[in-house]
Amino acid sequence: MSLLIRPFTSRKLMNAVISRQMHSSITTADIEKEYREQTLNYPFIGPREIVCKTSRATVTYVDDVLEPCPDVRYGVDTPEMRKLQEKERNEHWSALTREEKRKLYRHSFRQTLAELNAPIYETADIFGKAMILISIGIILCGTVRKTAVIGYSNAPPRDEEMQKKYLIRTIQQGQNKITGIASKWDYERGTWKWNK
């Protein structure tokens, strides 16, 4: 009796059937024949065991944090894995070595939850490339402004005396006298309003 036609058989019955199968030595060819007999899913997934039933129409393996039980096992069904699964079923988990546990996990899943949730630093990657391009642009801009552009040297050099005279004239003309610079000047006393 194959697991593939009746995916939700009771566990005890499954164990009994598989134990009976284990005791007769099974080869890879037998396994393949067993899977090939059912034509619904074998062309798409190969000799892999269906474990869960999700809402998808087709049976596929998907690694997703929100769907911890994919439709089908990741690994191909082989006699060695069947032996390991039999061991996992019948004995306590402390009897399995660490390597065997890892093999069983990787037979059912492709990536662990830790691997799925690991950061990939995509933001930092893109940000770094953008910063490199921006700095190239800034360097180009500065070089062109210093060497090729004429006109920035026409401005007179910074002069404290002239700046004072500009300020005096700005206040004399009453520029921005409502909320701006001339509004801070007290015309009656001839000084800034904050000088008491």
Binding site: K165, Y166, G174, G180, S183
Partner: protein, 230 residues
Amino acid sequence: MAHPSQLGFQDAASPVMEELLHFHDHTLMIVFLISTLVLYIIVAMVTTKLTNKFILDSQEIEIIWTLLPAMILILIALPSLRILYLMDEINDPHLTIKAMGHQWYWSYEYTDYEDLGFDSYMVPTQDLNPGQFRLLETDHRMVIPVDSPIRVLVSADDVLHSWAVPSLGIKMDAVPGRLNQTAFITSRPGVFYGQCSEICGANHSFMPIVVEAVPLEHFENWSSLMLEDA
């Protein structure tokens, strides 16, 4: 004129510019609110660990985020249209001035009563008196009486120019072969600077506009003096 390190608008010298300042405050407040909300949503979306793959739609929130922007846009559009129509009101101006743009100076013509016309060239940097503003001073200013509605007809002689004075809230393109009309009232006396605002050649940055608003007697004295000189 803008003082150094000024970030906002210059103080208004005409009622229309005052309205524009208030409208800008109103719209900027809305823009800040929306930007803050969007920034918060972006940060929340990027830094969350929760996922839901099976959301399809939600009628309530879709109704909200369709109606709310529409209402906000109406809130912005109504004052905007009000100011637009306010700017087009021209109520019996006391004076009509023609501002003609040339390469690279402005010329003003006061032809209501007498034939007064003069050119307004920028004062070069080396000829400035101490304290005069660089690239903004002109040899002849456009003098107008304060508190009087003025109509300005802007045109150009050769290429496109634009007659702009930010304090009065005016910017009008000077198109050769076309007369564009704008009007304003100056609420306070003073000197208001502007610069040509349409690229017109090599010295586009060096053709400023200076409007001087004075009481009526001073304006009459000035125009008599200018007529004698001409």
